[in-house]
């Protein structure tokens, strides 16, 4: 009885009084093999255990890559074809039975580990989701991929000319042609260091047994329920030190994000994440203080965010903090430039761009989006701030439409209003249908009839690839925060079935793109990008519709949290104010019982 009363008075039950524990939600994790992960939840889990040569800067914007396992940034040859990475000494893999030779003690990381890991991405037997990142880039890797198609086990001793370990701590990557984006790729989980011993020891079970160099090791994993990581003891043992960044944006100081500058990370000792598929359950667990942060689902939007896009007073009183950043995604309505009606008629496309009512679109989406002015979402390297030459202006749209050959929307051939077809995927969601009906109404006000054609996703993609669509609605999510990743969507050689689904071909643009893509990020490149963006905004192959705003809530006791578009591995910078959490829970989080 006395014991029970004691536990009641201390809602944390003493389990995390001495150590710093982080509780959070996660989507279902599919596995821990870096080459196979294609979803966010798995990539997040993998990046707690594994690391790459480079990582994203945590506080600095625009994003840049900084060394992680590499000892400084790589040396790049003048022709941009050879990258030489020096690898840090004294980095050890975690202890694991797979290291038979050392009796289960983790061995030191070497350059060979990266050669092996990148070969694994190319091995067709691994069915990696990440081969696009290296496809036709590294000398000899495509030949390795061809060789791996044989029915026999892949021979990893087969040399790849472009991937060489010069010595124990030097990796040399040779490219077929310049590819400055390689640096972003080296920060992705496809290029994380995987020890060959673990892959060979565990075989097909390797996906359940991560063995990495990262700040955490996997302690337990129940696939659809709970995953737990603990601090990697090897870091202390080997004396490895990683520091909290000292540089950030000007606002970061006021936000308290630099108070831990220069202190060794990670701060959190143990990470416990639960798989919660139901949005309202997850929300209630956040409100009770079980989870440190939460997204804002569409369903509880009105209960959380006020009309002025701020947090409701009730939640503010509880010390919940809202962060809001534009995501690196862009959603658009594209024109198929191969279509005989919309393709050759630039004025028609401009008129339709002018008829797109941004303000109503944002209002319909509850202020959860912003309007991009061009093809680049803010924050990508090479982003240029420009206002669209064709903003919403219905009168101007009418004039442009008349000049386009459709006065008042009337098609002179039929004498009736012009009819265009809009192809969509995934029509089952009522939100998609409603927003489509709003778009149709924008064009109705211009005098054009839009016929929606709702497809299922595979049919939609097939129609795109066969260039059978007229208008289509789609989005693009950044692979890496570089303008090139978005501008390639308009490159002529990338036409369908490539990612340029608008089949936009412009020799001038293509020439600038070819020039731009091999250049490192510099003012000269930004000037080129500005010219390319101008061409696109004038030609209007897309109606740029929205960039979603990412809304994230966290409790006041989760410190050092900054919204990040590539948050992989960033949990090592987070800190939990344990005392404050105990106070908070005593005040607001009734009924909490940690597991």
């Amino acid at each position: 009885m006395g014991l029970g009363a004691c536990r009641m008075s201390s809602p944390t039950g003493g389990t995390d009084a001495g150590e710093m524990v982080f509780y959070g939600p996660t989507a279902r994790i599919r596995g821990f093999d870096p080459v196979k992960a294609g979803d966010v939840a798995s990539a997040m889990a993998i990046s707690k255990v594994y690391e790459g040569l480079l990582q994203y800067s945590y506080l600095e914007r625009p994003y840049r890559v900084v060394p992680l396992l590499a000892d400084g940034m790589p040396e790049v040859s003048d022709d941009g074809l050879t990258y030489t990475f020096r690898i840090r000494k004294g980095i050890y893999f975690q202890d694991d039975p797979c290291f038979v030779e050392t009796g289960g003690r983790g061995r030191e990381l070497t350059a060979e580990d990266f050669v092996y890991s990148i070969k694994r991405v190319a091995d067709v037997k691994n069915a990696s989701t990440g081969y696009w990142a290296f496809n036709n880039r590294i000398v000899g890797l495509d030949e390795f991929r061809e060789a791996s198609r044989s029915p026999y086990p892949t021979d990893y001793d087969l040399p790849v000319g472009g991937l060489q370990a010069i010595d124990r701590y030097t990796l040399r990557v040779r490219l077929k042609r310049p590819y400055p984006q390689l640096l972003w790729i080296m920060a992705m989980h496809y290029a994380f260091a995987v020890p060959r011993e673990a892959v060979e020891y565990y075989g097909s079970d390797f996906v359940n047994h991560p063995v990495g160099t990262g700040p955490y090791v996997l302690k337990s994993w129940k696939r659809n329920y709970r995953v737990e990581f603990v601090r990697n003891p090897k870091w202390t043992e080997a004396g490895r030190v990683e520091l909290y960044p000292a540089k950030g944006e000007p606002d970061d100081v006021a936000a308290g994000l630099l108070e831990d500058a220069g202190r060794p990370v990670p701060f959190i000792d143990r990470i416990v994440q639960l798989v919660v598929s139901d949005a309202s359950t997850s929300w209630l667990m956040f409100l009770r203080g079980r989870f440190a942060f939460s997204g804002v689902s569409r369903d509880n939007w009105d209960a959380v965010i006020t009309e002025s896009r701020d947090l409701t007073p009730e939640l503010k009183r509880k010390g919940i903090v809202l962060s809001r950043t534009p995501a690196m995604d862009i959603y658009y309505t594209g024109f198929n430039m191969d279509d005989p009606v919309v393709g050759p008629n630039k004025l028609l496309r401009q008129a339709m761009t002018c008829a797109f009512n941004t303000e109503e679109w944002i209002r319909f989406h509850n202020n959860r989006i912003t309007r991009p002015s061009g093809p680049l979402p803010p924050g990508v390297a090479g982003y240029v701030e420009k206002s669209s030459p064709y903003p919403f202006d219905l009168e101007r749209a009418h004039r442009l439409l008349a000049r386009a050959g459709y006065p008042g929307g009337k098609d002179p051939q039929t004498g009736r209003r012009l009819i265009l077809t809009l192809d969509l995927g995934a029509a089952e969601a009522p939100e998609v249908r409603q927003s489509t009906e709003l778009f149709i109404d924008f064009m109705r006000r211009l005098g054009i009839v839009i016929r929606p054609r709702y497809n299922n996703w595979p049919t939609f993609l097939e129609r795109l690839e066969r260039r059978q669509v007229q208008l289509y609605r789609l989005g693009w999510i950044a692979d890496y925060p570089d303008a090139e990743n978005f501008l390639q969507l308009f490159y002529g050689a990338n036409s369908s079935p490539g990612p340029n689904h608008s089949n936009y071909r412009n020799p001038e643009y293509d020439r600038l793109y070819e020039q731009m893509r091999t250049m490192p990020d510099c003012p000269e490149r930004t000037r080129l990008i500005a010219r390319m963006v101008d061409i696109l905004m004038e030609d209007c192959p897309w109606i740029f519709m929205s960039v979603p705003l990412e809304y994230l809530l966290r409790h006041r006791w989760l410190l050092n949290y900054k919204a990040h578009d590539f948050p992989y591995g960033m949990i090592k910078y987070y800190r939990v104010d344990v005392q404050d959490r105990i106070r908070w829970r005593a005040q607001f989080g009734r009924g909490f019982s940690p597991r």
């Binding site: 249908r433 009906e437 149709i440 709702y454």
Partner: protein, 334 residues
């Protein structure tokens, strides 16, 4: 007048006149008939609106978006008689008159409220009735001839022909209904054609079975024997002689399958593979569920009540018709 005389008059009445008399005598049936008639008128009105705007090449008002009037509740919940602040109003009884006129006008504006894009719920409900009637009638025009002809042939010829047809409809009947419909609709493509063919091609089995059974009873009857003896052809016997005697089954089946077809259309539209671009009750329900938890109930309520009304009316009417047309199945007193 003696009882006998009345019996004779009754005996002389044709089946159809007798049925009509019995139907009229049942008050609930008459009410249902009125309800169905009202729905039919609304559907006709909806059809008229559709074609009016189609011919004028304009987007009809029920598809026009007005975000200013988003999620307006039905007019009676909007305090319709409250004058807007600052409105100049004369003194005395005239004031009441102005207020009344204002209130009535307000009551008529969006009487059932608006949806998430500011479109009038009443107009969309009426368009829903139009789609429902189209679906009910067109699918019947597809399914009933198939069921009727196959049932007639199977029952009349018997033997091998019967075996084949029975095998065919047993196969159809053994496939789960909704899945089959969805499969057909997927092959034909989304939209009304898919709905028509999906429902039409899969729902003839019940009728076929009933007709076959009835025809088997009839084919041994003296009048059929007589027709045969006169040397009439099979087709003529089937369609001129037997068909009129089993036609009441078609009528009953029609009234019973009509609401079923409407329901199926609603489900398909709800799932996103039904009607495209036009309002349907299924689409209204699917849209409304987004904000239902938030207390925006009128769009869902309008569509649901509309479906409830037509399904109930048709089902009661179907029962009454069956009672009236088939004396052996009579459940109620007339």
């Amino acid at each position: 007048m003696s009882m006998r005389e009345k019996d004779i008059r009754e005996a002389n009445m044709s089946l159809w006149r007798d049925a009509w008399r019995r139907l009229k005598a049942r008050r609930s049936a008459a009410a249902c008939l009125l309800v169905v008639g009202a729905y039919a008128l609304l559907a006709l009105y909806g059809e008229g609106v559709y074609w009016y705007y189609y011919l004028r090449d304009e987007t009809p008002p029920y598809n026009r978006v007005n975000l200013e009037a988003q999620y307006l509740p039905p007019s009676v919940f909007r305090a319709p008689f409250r004058m807007p602040a600052g409105a100049a109003s004369p003194e005395g009884w005239r004031m009441h008159l102005v207020r009344l006129r204002f209130g009535l006008r307000n009551l008529l504006r969006h009487p059932l409220g608006t949806d998430g894009l500011g479109r009038d719920v009443l107009q969309r409900t009426i368009q829903g009735a139009r789609i429902a009637f189209q679906v009910g009638i067109v699918t019947s025009l597809i399914a009933i001839p198939i069921g009727l002809v196959l049932g007639l042939i199977a029952g009349y010829f018997g033997g091998r022909v019967d075996d084949v047809i029975v095998w065919l409809y047993s196969t159809f009947a053994s496939i789960p209904g909704l899945l089959f419909i969805l499969a057909v609709a997927m092959v034909v493509g989304r939209g009304l054609t898919g709905v028509y063919l999906g429902i039409g091609l899969t729902t003839w089995v019940g009728l076929c079975r009933l007709i076959r059974g009835e025809v088997i009873k009839h084919r041994g009857r003296p009048y059929v024997e007589a027709a045969r003896a006169l040397g009439f052809g099979h087709v003529r016997i089937m369609f001129r002689h037997i068909l009129p005697n089993v036609f009441h089954i078609v009528l009953v089946t029609f009234t019973l399958r009509f609401p079923a077809a409407v329901n199926t259309e609603v489900i398909m539209s709800f799932l996103g593979i039904g009607v495209q671009g036009e309002p349907s009750w299924g689409i209204m329900i699917s849209n409304a569920r987004l904000r239902l938890w938030h207390g925006i109930w009128w769009e869902l309520a309008a569509a649901t009540v509309a479906i409830f009304g037509i399904v109930l009316a048709f089902n009661l009417l179907g029962d009454a018709l069956r009672d009236a047309l088939d004396p052996r199945l009579r459940t109620g007193r007339t």
